[in-house]
Symmetry: C2
Subunit: 461 residues, 2 copies
C-alpha cells in the first residue's frame, strides 16, 4: 500500500464522506475559555445566547464534551453537490521547486462562493430553517462568507440580509452581484438602518466601514426582527466544528494512500479554515496517538497570534457581542488600508487561541508581496488562481519545501487552499504593477487597538 | 448494474482517462469541406498552412481518416492537473423542476480559465513547444480562450501574445489581469502594431473591435515574427479534436453506470464545446450503433446554424485566413451591442456544419433574457454560477425536462456546462436590474453580413 501510486487528485467516494463533524474541544484538557456576558462577566448561558443564534447552534457553541456530532442528512445532501473536495498532490509545484518534499493541498475553491465558507453556511442555514425562522443576518468583508450564506439561504428559501463593509461594497460590485443572483439583500455598512450604524456614522461621517462595525449592525438587525437570527462565518466554535469536514476528508484521503503528513499549514484570519483543517489531526496529538507540526500563517499587517495578547476582548466594534478570550490585537485595531487580502479580523478563534497558548500550534506572519509572489508561482504551475488569503499558506508551504531542498529531507507537507482569487484581481493588478506595499504595524499601532477596552478581570493590557 | 446508485458527481479514475482523442471525421461519409486558399480557390496544403500553424497541428487539421490520435504524455500530465472533470447528476435541479427526466451535466469550469478552452490550449502550446517555437499569438473576445492559452504557455515557458477585442479589454480588466498573472502580453485590438490593425483603425477610427478583426491581427503577428505561430480556440477541426476529451470522459462515465442518454445538448459559438462533447456519440450514430438526439443551442442574436447559410466564407474580418465552408452569417456580421454573452462568432465549425446539413444535429436559438433566467434558476439549486455561454445549454435542458414533465417521459438529458460566470457579472447585473434586452436580427441585418463577400464557386448568397 505504501507504494501505491498517488494520483494528482484524490477524490473520496460519496460513501467515504464524513457523517459526523469532529469537536476537538472534547479532547482538549485546557478547554477554550467561555464567552462572557460583558455586563455580568459571567459565562454566557443558552438562554442569553438564543436571541442571537439558532438554538441548535447555541448548543454546538457551548458543547465542549461530545467529540462527534452527527451531520444532518439534509446538510450531507448539499455537501454532495460540491464535496468531497479534492486533495491534490502538487506534482508540478514540487518539480518546479526541485524539492524532495511531497506537497499536498486540500482545495476548497470549487464552488461558487469560491471558498470553504460554504461548509458552515449551509449548516447554519439548515438549523435556521429547521427552527422555522424567516431569515438570517450577517456581515461580510471581502464577500466570500456573504456569497456562501446567500447560496445556502437560497437553497433553503430563507431571507438573507448581508451587511457588507462599505469599502468592499463599492470596490467589489461583482461580489455584490453574485449575492444578488442568490437573492440576498446586501447593505453597505455602516448604514442608516441600525442604531449602531447611525451612531458610527455620526461619530465618523466619512468612514468606509470595518468588519467589527458590520458585525454590530448585523447582530442588531437580527435581534430587532421577528424570526431572524445572526450567523457568523468564522471565529466561533460552531463554525470551526462545521469546517472539520475539511480535515476529516483530508485525513480519510491521506489514510487511504498511507500518507503521513509531517507539517500541516493553513492561513489564519478568524481561524475557521485552519481549525477545520487541523482539528482531526490535533485530536490525534491531544490523545497522544500521533505527532504533527501545525503552522498558522497570518498577515504581518494583522498579526493576532504572533503579536497579539491572549485576553478577553470584544468581538465587534459596537460592543454588542459577548466577550471572547482570544489572541487579539484589540477590537479597535484596523489593518492598514494597503493590506490587500482578507484575514483582517482583530481576534482569533478561542479554540485555536488556547491550542496556540498550549504550544500545539506554531504561528508565522508573512508580508503581502511575498504572499503574492507565492500566489503567482503557484498559479503558473498548478493552474489554480489562489485567493490572497489562501496564498499565505502557499507562501509558507513553499518556504518549508525549500528548507527540505537544503536539508534533503523528504517531508510531507499538507496545506489548505481555501479558495480562488477571481474577485481579487485589483490586488493582483497592484502586485503586477509594482504598486503593492508591505506594512508592519508598530508597537504603538498595536497598542492603539486596545484603547477603550476595559480591564476585564485577568486582562493585562 | 442498471440499478447502481448514481452519485451526485461521477469522477473517473486517472487510469480511466482517455489516452486518445477521437477524430469524428474518420467516420463521416460526407467529409467537412476543405479549407480553400482564397487566391487559388484550391484546398490549402500542408505547405501553405505551416507558416501559420504548428506542423503537427496542420497534420491534425488535414487528417480526416484516422479515427484515434494519441494524446502525448506531457498533455495527459497537464490534463491530470484539472481533469477528469465531473459528470454531475443534477438531482437538485430535477427536484426543483419536479420532472421525471434525469439530468446530467459535464462541468468544465473547475479550472482557472473557467472553461473547456484549456483542453485545446494545452495541446496547441505543447506542439508549439515541441517544434521549438518561441511563442504563439492569438485573439480573445470574452477572455476565456486568452486565459486558457496564457496558462498553457506559462506551463511550457512559451511567449504568449493575445489580441483582445478592445471593448472587452476595457470592460474586462480582471480577465486581462488573470492573463498577466500567467505572463501573457495582452494588446487591445485593433492596434497600431499590425498592418491590418492600422488599416482598420484608419477606416473605422472609433471602432471597439471585433473577433474577426483580432484574428486578422493575431495571424499577421504570427507570420511576421520569427519562431511564432498562430493558435485558435474554436472553429478549427484540430480544436474540436482536442475537445473530444470532454465527450470521451462523458461517455466513459455514463457507460460505467449503464446510463444511456436520450438527448445531448451543448451551446454553440464556434462549435468547440459542442463538437467535443458530442463527437464520440455522433460516431456511434454514424457507425449505425446507437441513436441520440443532439441539440446545438445558439443565441438568437447570432444564429449561424438556424439562420445562416452553408457557404464558403472568410474566417476573419481582415480576410487574411483561408476560406472555410460553414454555416455563416457572413464575415461582416457583428452581433448587436446588447448581446451579453460569448457565442458571437459569425461562422461555425466545418465539422458541425456538415453534420447539421446532413441532419444529424438539431439547432435551436434562444433569447438572452430566457438564458439568464435559466442561469439564475440553475445557480440557485446547483450551486454553480454558470457562464452566459453555458447557460444557453441550461435553457434548452430545462425546456426539454419540462416537456418530460408534461408527457411523463423519463428521458435522460446530458448537457455541457462549459464554464463559470465569475467574469460576467456586468451581464448578470443588467439582468437583475431589468436592463437586459433581447434582440433578433432582421433579415436585412443578416444580409448585411454578406456584403463584400465575393461569390465563390458554389456560393449562393
Amino acid at each position: 500500500m505504501a507504494n501505491k501510486e498517488i494520483p494528482y487528485k484524490i477524490y473520496l467516494e460519496e460513501s467515504e464522506m464524513p457523517r459526523q463533524w469532529y469537536n476537538v474541544r472534547a479532547d482538549m484538557k485546557n478547554k477554550p475559555a467561555p464567552l462572557l456576558n460583558p455586563a455580568t462577566l459571567q459565562p454566557m448561558t443558552f438562554e442569553e445566547l438564543r436571541p442571537v443564534f439558532c438554538d441548535e447552534l447555541v448548543k454546538q457553541e457551548l458543547n465542549d464534551t461530545d467529540a462527534y456530532i452527527d451531520i444532518p442528512e439534509e446538510i450531507r445532501k448539499f455537501y454532495k453537490m460540491y464535496r468531497p473536495s479534492p486533495l491534490v498532490r502538487a506534482y508540478c509545484l514540487e518539480e518546479k521547486l526541485q524539492t524532495p518534499a511531497k506537497i499536498y493541498y486540500k482545495f476548497e475553491g470549487n464552488n461558487t462562493s469560491g471558498s470553504h465558507k460554504l461548509n458552515s453556511a449551509i449548516a447554519q442555514a439548515y438549523y435556521a430553517k429547521q427552527q422555522g425562522l424567516k431569515g438570517v443576518t450577517t456581515e461580510t468583508g471581502a464577500g466570500q462568507w456573504g456569497t456562501a450564506l446567500s447560496m445556502a439561504c437560497s437553497y433553503f428559501g430563507l431571507d438573507c440580509q448581508v451587511y457588507m463593509v462599505k469599502v468592499s461594497y463599492e470596490q467589489k460590485p461583482f461580489r455584490r452581484e453574485v449575492m444578488r443572483t442568490y437573492g440576498a439583500k446586501v447593505t453597505p455598512s455602516p448604514s442608516e438602518f441600525t442604531e449602531v450604524g447611525r451612531k458610527i456614522l455620526m461619530e465618523h461621517p466619512g468612514t468606509s466601514g470595518s468588519l467589527g462595525c458590520a458585525i454590530s449592525e448585523a447582530v442588531e438587525a437580527a435581534t430587532k426582527q421577528e424570526g431572524y437570527r445572526y450567523v457568523l462565518g468564522s471565529v466561533l466554535s460552531q463554525v470551526l466544528l462545521h469546517q472539520t469536514i475539511i480535515g476529516l476528508e483530508t485525513k480519510t484521503a491521506l489514510d487511504k494512500y498511507d500518507i503521513v503528513p509531517d507539517i500541516i499549514i493553513g492561513c489564519a484570519g478568524g481561524g475557521s479554515n485552519l481549525g477545520g483543517l487541523i482539528s482531526p489531526f490535533v485530536g490525534e496529538v491531544l490523545r497522544g496517538e500521533k505527532d504533527y507540526k501545525f503552522i498558522a500563517v497570518e498577515p504581518a499587517s494583522c498579526p493576532s497570534l504572533t503579536r497579539g495578547k491572549y485576553v478577553y476582548d470584544f468581538c465587534d466594534t459596537g460592543k454588542v457581542c459577548p466577550l471572547a478570550k482570544m489572541y487579539t490585537l484589540g477590537s479597535g485595531f484596523i489593518p492598514s488600508a494597503n493590506h490587500a487580502g482578507g484575514l483582517r479580523y482583530h481576534g482569533m478563534s478561542s479554540i485555536l487561541s488556547q491550542l496556540y497558548d498550549d504550544g500545539y500550534i506554531e504561528a508565522r506572519s508573512v508580508e503581502q508581496t511575498a504572499v503574492f509572489e507565492a500566489a503567482e508561482q503557484f498559479a503558473r504551475v498548478e493552474g489554480i488562481l489562489p485567493a490572497p488569503e489562501s496564498s499565505h499558506a502557499i507562501r509558507v508551504a513553499i518556504d518549508e519545501a525549500m528548507k527540505c531542498k537544503e536539508t534533503g529531507e523528504e517531508k510531507t507537507i499538507v496545506f489548505g487552499l481555501t479558495g480562488t482569487g477571481y474577485f481579487d484581481m485589483v490586488a493582483y493588478e497592484k502586485f503586477h504593477n509594482g504598486e503593492m506595499k508591505d506594512y508592519i504595524p508598530t508597537d504603538a499601532d498595536l497598542q492603539a487597538g486596545f484603547d477603550g477596552i476595559p480591564r476585564f478581570p485577568g486582562n493585562n493590557i
